[in-house]
């Protein structure tokens, strides 16, 4: 077990005017750990994720990340170039709608290769080789490398987005409803893929989802959010099998059994 957390969040609060986005959230994420954030729509999950991934400056609180050279550093105090570098090397962001995370006008290969080029890769052959390997890893036929993403199915788009994020071997990936909007069989395939990648690469991840089954499969730990606050927090199976907070009990008992 390593000695330092990868991410430390202290008293993170974000207000939209008088409305609470998220309030007083604190936790630590350790290397190799996957945290699930669950809760109904409007519970502040996505706001929290945006604040963590530097896409939304929080009203108060601290987000510290274990940078290679300085250890735990306040991500909002980083200079813009360093933050950008972090976003495209150490971090990945998987959006719910793959179209938000992809460049729809360029080929699948260019989508995967972009992060490599952004950090200075200038050898076409090698960029292409790596893009091909990653397409293969996310189960996209590498012969589709030069096809436009618009010709891909929803599940393929989501897998392409994942490849695009993982090509620079990030340490931390933020996922916002990664299986949202996909039908069940496609979801299962994606979940299995994510699980495998997370284990094989030793990724840490923060996964926002409203699907408790997804949370159970992917996350080691769960945070249950309601009205912007974390109401319960613990081991995934403990939170789901022995929920304590009234809201968590309601959430768990509301799941439809097929």
């Amino acid at each position: 077990m390593s000695q330092a957390p990868l991410l430390r969040v202290s008293n993170l609060t974000h207000m939209y005017g008088n409305r609470v986005g998220c309030r007083d959230v604190s936790f630590e994420l350790w290397p190799g750990e996957v945290i699930g954030i669950v809760g109904e729509s409007g519970s502040g999950k996505s706001t929290l994720l945006s604040c963590l991934s530097t896409r939304q400056q929080p009203s108060a609180g601290l987000v510290e990340y274990d940078t290679a050279d300085q250890g735990l550093t306040d991500v909002y105090a980083l200079s813009e170039p360093r933050r950008r570098m972090l976003m495209r090397t150490d971090w990945g962001i998987v959006h719910q709608n793959p179209r938000d995370g992809l460049r729809m006008g360029v080929s699948a290969g260019a989508n995967v290769g972009e992060r490599l080029m952004a950090v200075g890769a200038r050898h076409y052959g090698r960029i292409r080789e790596q893009a091909g390997q990653w397409l293969d890893k996310v189960e996209i036929d590498p012969t589709r490398m030069d096809d436009q993403p618009a010709t891909f199915s929803g599940g393929m788009l989501q897998r392409l987005q994942i490849a695009r994020n993982l090509v620079t071997h990030p340490r931390l990936v933020f996922m916002d409803e990664p299986t949202g909007g996909l039908d069940v069989s496609v979801q299962a395939r994606l979940l299995d893929l994510l699980r495998r990648l997370v284990t094989d690469l030793g990724l840490s991840a923060i996964v926002v989802t409203h699907d408790l089954a997804v949370a159970r499969l992917l996350a080691h730990r769960l945070m249950v959010m309601r009205q912007g606050e974390v109401v319960e927090h613990g081991l995934t199976d403990q939170v789901l099998d022995d929920p304590h907070h009234p809201y968590t009990q309601l959430l768990v008992s509301s799941v439809l059994q097929p």
Binding site: E80, R84, V106, A110, G113, E114, A118, H123, Y124, R128
Partner: protein
């Protein structure tokens, strides 16, 4: 010279505003300086940016050459030349060697430029990052941070689709190892002429209200990949009129039967070579 106009059409305050922008542009090679573009007596897209820059730098003893697609005798070139002859009373020429100010659309003359000459480029879209980032706030940030990696995505796409970098004009360059710049729609054939040129190169975009510059003897590098280096166009033919093999050729269709010929796009260069042969 027509009366009733200020020298070179624009009023003195406007020209001073333009010169301030130009000075800043020269001081930061490749950086786009915003300026208050004026309404000109010709439409956007016809070279309003270039005309304003020319008006700001031209003096009574300058000799002006205007080219459009390499030729001195096309509509746009002729009317802009006449515009300055009438409003500034300056001498005009078709000879690259004689000119002190050369306003251009789409070409750099084949005849090497020399110290003291000023090239003025007409620019339709100055922002090289525009195709991949529509937000101006974001492109400015990208310039500020020299965050240009994504620019190679376009070149990657070319190679993936055509087997080679198929961008043939307005080919992106890095100026002074710092700012990414659109060289205006000149063919990439002309890109090497910009590098370390002894002439001052000024760029004006009237509609987009931007001015940028490459001072003399400044490095201008065309983007490329290690395994797909930058290359200029080559032709199998020589110019049908002057026999030049080293110049940029236009394909001219000569009849309805599909007959065609290749001629130098630079009419002055071509004419000069033919004169030499006759002598």
């Amino acid at each position: 010279m027509s009366t009733g106009y200020n020298f070179a059409y624009l009023d003195e305050q406007t020209k001073r505003m333009l010169r301030r922008a130009l000075l800043k542009a020269v001081a930061i090679p490749g950086y786009q300086v915003p300026f208050g573009s004026r309404e000109m007596p010709l439409p956007y897209g016809w070279g309003t940016g270039g005309i304003q820059v020319t008006a700001a730098v031209i003096g009574a003893d300058d000799i002006l050459k205007v080219i459009d697609q390499g030729a001195d005798d096309t509509t746009n070139a002729v009317s802009i030349r006449r515009f300055f002859a009438r409003t500034a009373g300056v001498a005009t020429t078709e000879k690259t060697r004689e000119a002190t100010v050369i306003q251009t659309r789409h070409r750099i003359p084949e005849t090497p430029l020399s110290e003291g000459q000023i090239m003025v480029y007409q620019v339709p879209i100055p922002e090289p990052l525009r195709w991949l980032e529509p937000r101006e706030t974001e492109t400015r940030k990208m310039h500020a941070l020299a965050d240009y990696g994504a620019m190679h995505v376009k070149l990657y796409e070319d190679i993936a689709r055509y087997g080679h970098i198929a961008t043939t004009y307005d080919y992106p360059v890095l100026v002074n190892d710092r700012y990414l710049m659109r060289p205006s729609p000149i063919p990439k054939f002309d890109n090497p002429k910009m590098d370390n040129s002894p002439a001052l190169q000024l760029f004006g975009a009237g509609r987009e209200k931007r001015i940028y510059a490459v001072p003399p003897y400044t490095s201008v590098k065309s983007l490329d990949f290690e395994d797909h280096p930058f290359e200029i166009q080559r032709w199998d033919q020589a110019c049908a009129l002057c026999g030049a093999t080293e110049s940029f050729l236009d394909e001219v269709v000569t009849d309805d039967a599909g007959g065609r010929m290749y001629v130098c796009s630079d009419s002055d260069y071509c004419g000069e070579r033919r004169d030499e042969v006759e002598q």
